[in-house]
């Protein structure tokens, strides 16, 4: 589990991974991962399938134990209450009845708040679903459902938003709207974003920082200095024009 103590001197620092080792059972997926996430930074995690991007997210969320190294999370600013999670897709039982109000409201589990209606209204407004509270979740389009997932994360008023390939299955227009909204959130509310993606163009356009996962190692830093042709060749094993997307899912 991530460490909560001690407090670090940098007030902007939310998350710090140092020589982190991650894996499932006996399999070590990530052997050495070190980087730090500060407020208002937009991190894209890139790499081929099975490189450990989603494993890293699950470890930050406390769903997987750490195999080695340290993962420090700010004890108040980056506690689980202050982390919003947007999964790649929501494995809901399709026959279950639920409204947007109930679905998004479930994001408040684990949070003691007296203003759930205000939070709901604010979260839905951020994702352009205001006024649809009582509509069935199943009546929404794919893009709207993805935005409902983001609203469910935003209702927690997070300082870190963790997104696992949030644009999967979206058409280009919905994808663009979603990413612009996330960028706006980052700037206006100073939320740190950590997003798994295969889209190098998207990372180039929106990320302030990237982490390249490859063969158990992680190369991380500001986008311009990290997303180089040399690093991409090392990760993907071939020359890649980094302004174009790379398909596939983790």
């Amino acid at each position: 589990m991530p460490e909560d103590l001690p407090l670090r001197s940098d007030p902007e620092l939310l998350l710090s991974a140092s020589h982190l080792q991650l894996g499932y059972g006996r399999d070590l997926v990530v052997a050495d991962c070190s980087f730090e996430v500060r407020r208002a930074e937009f991190w894209c995690l890139l790499g081929s399938n099975g490189a450990g991007k989603t494993t890293f997210l699950r470890t930050v969320l406390g769903l997987l134990p750490i195999r080695g190294g340290t993962l420090w999370r700010h004890p108040t600013e980056a506690s689980l209450e202050r982390i919003g999670f947007v999964p790649q897709r929501c494995e809901l039982n399709r026959t279950l009845p639920t409204t947007i109000r109930e679905f998004v409201g479930l994001g408040l589990v684990g949070i003691s708040t007296g203003s759930s209606e205000d939070r709901l209204a604010a979260a839905l407004a951020w994702v352009d679903l205001a006024g649809l509270e009582d509509r069935s979740y199943w009546a929404l389009s794919g893009g709207q459902r993805q935005r409902a997932l983001i609203a469910r994360a935003l209702i927690r008023d997070p300082h870190i938003l963790i997104l696992d390939e949030p644009t999967t299955g979206l058409d280009p227009s919905s994808e663009s709207r979603l990413l612009k909204g996330l960028a706006q959130l980052r700037q206006e509310r100073r939320i740190a974003m950590i997003m798994v993606t295969h889209d190098l163009g998207m990372a180039r356009q929106y990320a302030t920082h990237v982490a390249l996962f490859h063969r158990g190692k992680v190369v991380a830093g500001p986008t311009a200095s990290t997303l180089t042709a040399e690093n991409l060749r090392a990760v993907y094993g071939q020359d890649i024009d980094h302004i174009h997307s790379v398909g596939g899912h983790d």
Binding site: Y24, G62, L80, F85, P87, E91, P97, L106, V109, R152
Partner: protein, 285 residues
């Protein structure tokens, strides 16, 4: 019809009250079963309970030869039924995780087949064994005692207190396990807890009311609620109301027509589900 029912009250009040309490309890637990789309688990756990009761009866016959008075008691049968149902529920709850490589359906099917066959094998040589199996399968709630009433009252109170305190967490667990884990809910502990509660509720209900009433009250009210409600949390209100309404009507009809009450309640709830499907189809169109 009502006055006939009221006049039967002095004789059958424990049966009626136990029936209502079982219906209420199972309808609440059943929401968890239906919401996770694991309806077959109800049948498997019911049969696991039947195996437990068979083991209890086998112990009773063994106890007779050892002059063990407690071995033949009703409490032993109820305990064995509850224990085996809990074990069955725990086994099925572990399937589909990293701990096993088998699917949930496969493990549930295994629990069902092994329990059903082993129960009959265990009792096939016993003088009244197959008669008891038949009683459990066909359901009869006549004969419930005031101890049964007290036990189910306690189970209902605990269930309602848990729901009142943790409803959003429970709804999240039923709808989205990954999200529940991500917000810090101890998912494995909750899963085990729900499995134990399901096993205990089904196991004790099986002993008192038999298979049909137990399985019917477990899944049918929750399925009706699912078709009538717009939100999962509302199912926790509607399912108990349906269960209480269905069982009350069933008891009145059964008393008037001299039918077995468990079968009448199950049939009425089945008809209710057909009407709920129809209502949903009409609303959709």
């Amino acid at each position: 019809m009502i006055s006939a029912f009221l006049s039967s009250w002095p004789l059958f009040h424990d049966t009626y009250i136990a029936g209502w309490l079982i219906a209420l309890l199972l309808s609440l637990v059943g929401v968890a079963v239906v919401a996770r789309d694991q309806i077959f688990i109800g049948a498997a756990v019911s049969h696991a309970s039947m195996l437990g009761i068979a083991v209890g009866m086998w112990l009773a016959s063994w106890g007779e030869s050892m002059a063990c008075e407690w071995c033949g008691s009703d409490a032993l049968l109820a305990s064995c039924g509850g224990l085996f149902a809990i074990l069955g529920a725990l086994i099925t709850s572990r399937s589909g995780t990293h701990a096993t490589s088998e699917t949930h359906e496969a493990v549930t099917g295994w629990v069902y087949v092994v329990s059903a066959s082993a129960a009959i094998l265990l009792l096939s040589q016993s003088p009244h064994g197959l008669e008891e199996v038949h009683r459990l399968l066909s359901s009869t709630i006549i004969g419930a005692t005031n101890t049964d009433v007290a036990a189910f009252l306690l189970l209902n109170v605990v269930t309602l207190v848990l729901l009142a305190g943790f409803l959003p967490t429970i709804v999240l667990l039923l709808m989205d396990l990954e999200m529940a884990g991500a917000v810090g809910v101890p998912v494995s502990r909750w899963q085990r807890g729900i499995a134990i509660w399901l096993g205990l509720s089904v196991g004790l209900s099986m002993h008192v009311s038999g298979m049909l009433f137990t399985f019917g009250c477990l899944v049918l009210p929750a399925l009706i609620a699912k078709n009538l409600c717009r939100e999962v949390r509302h199912m926790f209100w509607v399912a108990p109301l349906v269960a209480l309404g269905g069982s009350t009507l069933g008891f009145i009809l059964a008393n008037y027509e001299d039918f077995p009450p468990g079968q009448v309640v199950a049939t009425l709830l089945g008809l209710g589900l057909a009407m709920a499907w129809l209502s949903k189809a009409i609303r959709r169109n």
